[in-house]
Symmetry: C2
Subunit: 320 residues, 2 copies
């Protein structure tokens, strides 16, 4: 069994290769070439253990991920876990990954895939709302598919805005990074807005002129009572995409506008359907992409990382 460390994940695969792996996952989903049981939730008080298995091709994987919200008070990550990749023909465990790192890597790559297929090739200004691990990951992957010149950053904590701004500037010296004082200003001045918060209520104003003709990438909301984007985003949208149909129920960013009749279920499409037809969207109107993630993404990124690690003799062989 191969143990693939977090630091090896970044070495094994470029960001654009990871985006391609997520495109592979989207196509597998469109062709229905996979088995993915409902994720299992084991609740222990406020804490939860999620078990996320998926089968496709010659592999299967299981993510075990725990969400302990109180951890943040003691400076321990709330989300921790592992991903185990197995041989689909024999069941043999093939590789072990840090579940938090794999998740942030593939979630960044899913956002990157959305920007690749939904944004203008001349994208100039991107706005990032939220300054956590996923905020950084989204910017890294977005930059791997579009060479935008300017990044606006907003977080409710000015210190955290400054901190992530510094990290990004350090990684991309040619990128102009600007901290904004409000989310509304950020939205107004961006062509593409990526939101990565755990907000319950929308993070900017419900004003049509603010959101029109922009691309919105929703990453943070993963429960039906969490809504990062005000209703006007969906109301203004010419096209709304999701990563998995479960997003319609699992995220308030889609569930709430759907329940209010602002958007209709038949008007929502999977990003995979666009990739399958192999044509990027052509619109100057408002476009929305909402991601909630799924075990199939974990499986396909793990499979690609494992195959690259075997080819390049990376990872640590664990003698069982």
């Amino acid at each position: 069994m191969l143990f693939i460390q977090s630091k090896d994940i970044d070495k094994l695969m470029t960001h654009s290769e990871a985006v391609e792996a997520m495109e592979e996952a989207f196509l597998i989903q469109e062709n229905d070439d996979f088995t993915m049981p409902d994720r299992v939730h084991v609740n222990q008080g406020d804490n939860v253990l999620l078990l996320m298995p998926a089968f496709a091709g010659n592999y299967f994987s299981t993510k075990l991920v725990s969400v302990f919200p109180e951890n943040s008070k003691i400076q321990i990550p709330s989300i921790q876990g592992v991903v185990v990749l197995n041989d689909g023909k024999t069941g043999e465990p093939l590789a072990l990954f840090n579940g938090a790192k794999l998740t942030s890597f593939r979630t960044g790559a899913v956002g990157g895939a959305a920007i690749k297929w939904l944004s203008s090739e001349n994208l100039h200004t991107v706005g990032l709302i939220g300054s956590g691990v996923q905020g950084l990951s989204q910017v890294q992957f977005a930059r791997s598919v579009r060479n935008f010149a300017k990044l606006l950053v907003y977080d409710s904590s000015p210190e955290k805005s400054k901190e992530i701004g510094g990290i990004i500037k350090n990684e991309f010296p040619d990128l102009e990074v600007q901290i904004t004082q409000s989310a509304d200003t950020l939205v107004k001045d961006s062509e593409c807005v990526i939101s990565t918060t755990t907000a319950i209520d929308p993070v900017f104003s419900n004003r049509m002129e603010l959101v029109q003709d922009k691309l919105f990438i929703g990453i943070g909301s993963y429960k039906s009572d969490m809504q990062e984007f005000p209703d006007v985003v969906c109301q203004s949208a010419e096209a709304v995409y999701y990563d998995t149909p479960m997003a319609k129920k699992e995220s308030g960013d889609l569930a709430k506008p759907l329940s209010k009749g602002i958007i209709k279920e038949k008007d929502l499409r999977s990003l995979g359907s666009l990739i399958q037809k192999d044509h990027s969207i052509k619109t100057t109107g408002t476009v929305v992409f909402k991601s909630v993630g799924m075990a199939l993404f974990d499986l396909i990124i793990a499979k690609n990382l494992y195959e690259k690690a075997k080819l390049t003799n990376m990872g640590i062989e664990l003698s069982f």
Copy 2:
């Protein structure tokens, strides 16, 4: 995260310490001090992935185990997997174990606990039916709790009987090991019969005089259509014990006699109830113990192994 290799498991804990760990698990079960959701079965054709989580005290664990029956045709173990132990307060993954090894180790220890509480201290002759990994494990743990002088071995394959007989003789030079030509002979000449086969139909004859006043330890049958012991075993029994109440449904050794009215559900008891009262059974009649296993056993053995590994600086620290 600590990686604890298979070979380290045998070094970290004596067999009698492992039996004590299983007694701890039985008491936790009696006191209802645990959370154990139903195991999750993910079927892929004839193959199955089982996800088995359990929470107790300051830990939780998940066993991911795959059962690929066709593997035996290509000399690969049918059952493979991992066990992940986590910190119950933060969710942090603490340790990784080989799931097949941990399972065979704790299943042997459960059988050992049953013999400790249900057999005479003067036990002289034990009969082992079945020559697989679990056959060996049962003998090792039985010998750790009772210093019996003679072991009879039967397997439908004479070569395999001879092979396991040699391995056992090598490990216990003072034990008289004898291969029998039939299961009936083995039962007739043993005081305690341990059965570890994957037989669908009973492995010896349905004759009262064969089974009376003996102790039967049923390990192999884990499905309702698998029955190692003929009906007369339960019919003759003064006491029938199980490891977990699920055994009544999950094993044909209990489910079939129950459905025929040979035994009544109210007459079955958990081994834990005996351990809780802290008194061994006093009977010269027929006694049955049936084990199907549960995630709580994996958790408690993993917890004890992990704590010993930390104390003794064993295991390999995986830098996540």
